[in-house]
Symmetry: C2
Subunit: 348 residues, 2 copies
């Protein structure tokens, strides 16, 4: 950013692609010399290199990654596959992935798995483009998906995926079970007793694990009354609809742990409409700590998922596993923490 851009009043001139051999001819050297001049670590004399660099810049030469990939086998492209294009948290995720990859000289080839593109198409497509590796960023799809990439010979990391004791594919994320335990523990510490889990779609792998952890703690307390229900999607509308349904079905719980911030915000909106005060009448605890959670007017107390760590670690892992293809699959989990804001009553 901040660079200056010419005002561009002249006519636009279009340059045609320049090849390595043209540079070689102009610099009076062999093609191999040019190639080596652009290969870090190759052996070229200083004066030859200077001549080549001069010729290259005069001609506006930039080497074709695709041609070199043909022999080196490295495209420096990473397939970035996701189906979560509706949860605002994923804009942050894409932002950080693209920057992290760019910083390492890698390029994200983006694949949207939510449209007509089936998994098998995505796999084949990424093979055809010879991507060096794949980052599969999805909190809702099961590990089998990531596995398909691996079977196709593509190193893969499943980010925000489900933990497994003996993972078949690389996985980076949070321990959803531990997050569920943390949530339940937090609600109890605030003195809530009639508590509820308001999860995302019950088919989502993350939902199941969070619920399991939540119940694990809740079941140790005899005085607890726990209920659970599931929204149709990780979305505002689904969260709002589910909370409306709950309010219509009977008296609300004292506090809800929602499987996602955007779900929480939907639930908050339903509570506000019903005239219930948060946190006076009902407590809400979210999960993710997306940017919006700290907006005044929302001010959501939430379980923070360390997104930056997950992403940085995912990139590390995909890079290391493409350098050593026989590296065994690995699971990297990060801990969560509570971000205290205004939707739970204070600790007793």
């Amino acid at each position: 950013m901040g660079e200056t851009v010419g005002h561009g009043t002249g006519p636009v001139k279009r340059t045609s692609p320049v090849t390595l051999r043209e540079v070689a001819r102009r610099a009076g050297v062999s093609p191999s010399a040019v190639s080596r001049a652009f290969t870090p670590g190759a052996s070229v004399s200083a004066q030859k290199r200077a001549a080549i660099e001069l010729a290259a810049s005069e001609l506006g030469y930039s080497p074709s990654v695709l041609a070199s990939a043909l022999t080196t086998g490295r495209t420096k492209m990473i397939g970035l596959v996701s189906n979560n294009f509706h949860n605002p948290i994923f804009l942050e995720v894409f932002d950080q992935f693209t920057r992290g990859l760019q910083d390492r000289g890698l390029r994200p080839l983006l694949v949207n798995l939510s449209g007509d593109m089936a998994l098998a198409d995505a796999v084949q497509m990424l093979r055809r483009y010879s991507v060096d590796g794949v980052i599969f960023a999805s909190s809702t799809l099961p590990p089998d998906y990531a596995r398909k990439f691996l079977e196709a010979g593509l190193p893969v990391v499943h980010s925000f995926g489900r933990w497994s004791a003996r993972p078949e594919v690389n996985i980076v994320g949070i321990d959803n079970r531990a997050a569920g335990r943390l949530a339940a523990g937090t609600l109890f510490a605030r003195g809530y007793r009639r508590i509820a889990f308001l999860g995302g779609p019950d088919s989502a792998s993350s939902t199941q694990d969070r619920l399991a952890g939540f119940l694990e703690v809740a079941n140790t307390r005899q005085e607890a009354q726990v209920t659970s229900s599931f929204a149709a999607a990780y979305s505002f509308d689904a969260g709002r609809a589910e909370m409306q349904r709950l309010l219509g079905a009977g008296p609300p719980a004292q506090a809800y742990f929602c499987g996602d911030d955007v779900l929480s915000i939907g639930a908050l909106s339903a509570l506000a409409d019903a005239g219930l005060d948060v946190p006076g009448d009902v407590g809400i605890l979210g999960l993710n700590d997306m940017e919006m959670a700290r907006w005044a007017g929302i001010n959501l107390t939430t379980v923070r998922q360390p997104i930056a760590d997950i992403i940085a670690s995912s990139i590390d892992l995909v890079v290391s596993s493409l350098n050593d293809p026989d590296q065994p699959a690995e699971a990297r989990l990060f801990g969560c923490s509570i971000v205290e804001r205004g939707t739970l009553r204070p600790r007793l």
Copy 2:
């Protein structure tokens, strides 16, 4: 979606890449025959094609796009360049771009211009990857940026860009000036007289045009009192901060036209904190109609930007201009409309 995925209990087998010549050998034909079998419109006999397809599927062959790009000159990759990774509306934008491109067999190579990546780096990078074209999606950066891609020989479309009478580069977006006029007209029609423009960063090209259109109408009404100010960014925090500043500086206007929905939401939050009722005390009109605008609790009256049309048209335009590189630059503008919700008082 909805496809079934095997449960994958067996060990993961990794396949190594299969080449065209291996398929040829197995099918007992020449390499050219295989190539032609995979080229639509090429002339291959039915039985040879069958033999080739059999061999290919037995071997799990998928042709390398990169190798073919070397001779055809088409990678079917489109650079998708943006710097707007913080406005939630852009998640919708990315979603629609990726799907639209995928539907046409194109692949988005995503470039994040907001980090350390300078414009010149992005241009060179996309040249090195031989992308067929570039979509530059930014509402904040000037047309000079898009022009740099064109100069590098890359067909480009500036989506959400600034209108120009004689465009040097392809541009698809809304007529920001007309949007400003629409906004002002709407406020007057509601009986507001002391009105204000609360724009994004005053360096953003879109802001200037919207303000110009806004004033154009406002200045035709003698009874109008118009003021204007600018938030530091297109963000919640910036909108909130700017509205707080305005409220601290004196009595508020009767209604504000904010340059963006997320800015509006920030402004709403400041108004709520100040105990002002919307639309009772103050009216707010946004721009974009992002998903969040219709959330209960926000319910923002806003100028709708036809994002789907802009994106579909951008893709059309980049495709047609890469098929005919000498096509003159074109500007395609779409009209905006008012989406009536709850932050302006009703028409008198």
